[in-house]
Amino acid sequence: MMDSSQLFLNPTPYSWTAEEKRRRTLPLYQSLTSWHKERCLPYSNILNKALHWEQGEFRH
């Protein structure tokens, strides 16, 4: 994985406001989810099942 840790690891780890953190880190979390979905089959399966659940496939 391309190491993006310089984007979020810094020696003063309480410097971002909550809003600034949301803005900076949301794309990084999304990218991590994609990374793991591509590389961890059980994780991908779990997320797919959850998605089907949300879409009503298992709601009977």
């Binding site: 190491d3 840790s5 779990i46």
Partner: protein
Amino acid sequence: MLPVQLFKKAELSSVPDEQVIKVLKSSGTTSQQPSKIYLDRETASRQTKALSYIMKSFIGGQRLPMVIVDSKAVIQNRQSYSARGAGILGFSNFGRDHFYLLDEEMKPDWEGLRAFLDKHADTRKLIFGFTFIVWLHLYKEAVRQEQRVDFGDSVLIHGGGWKKLEQEKTDSLTFNRLLRDSLGIRSSYNYYGMVEQVGSIFMECEQGWLHTPDFADVLVRDPYTLEVLPNGKEGIVQVMSLLPSSYPGHNLLTEDVGVILGEDNCPCGRHGKMFRVSGRLPAAEIRGCSDTYSAT
């Protein structure tokens, strides 16, 4: 978002086996299968760096002489660690001249401790241990055996759950006061963390609130609908961390109950959310390092 219990039921690794350098195992009591957390070099390195930045904010950057309130036997297998072992190893990076207070039978070495404290009489000391182990094998044993010990200039870092102390009607403030009065431990910091997200721990500040570092966050969700709750409402704690790339542990639904108390306005000056963890979901398995430790 992944329920944290799934690490017990599935092999969740995002890297080929040959890249795994360490496997961490959770501390569950009732499940037959512990969680297994697969670390590669990059994830382990980010965890170490993240923890060091957090610790620097609380105890400064200097390595302090360190007392570990545990037995060295816990960290003997270097390829596979229990959550307790991982905690000890992670925090031992911030100390020097480590002294393990307890033997394999969890009995304190009082003479060894006095010699250590004499040797470092003029220096601030770092003490690390899991909350219930500190309580049972340091504080209560010292009281029971009428041992007079003064740690002097010292800071205790402890975590792993309060359930067993709550059963003894001891809260964080009482814990700190008793340790200060009986053992001279000048300051104590509790932390909230889990083996599934090593490195991105949430430290309790001087005001008594847990803080989220830049690379981690929390949300609180309704236990029935899983909708995100507004600040001030109690619900299930969801923890997020940007550190893990070798396993999908970046977005986890815990079995802990907590509440977000505010954002960016703690008197301690740290930005980000402040929150409190008040316990476990009623049907949840007890699984913290401290809470699963059995004294018998």
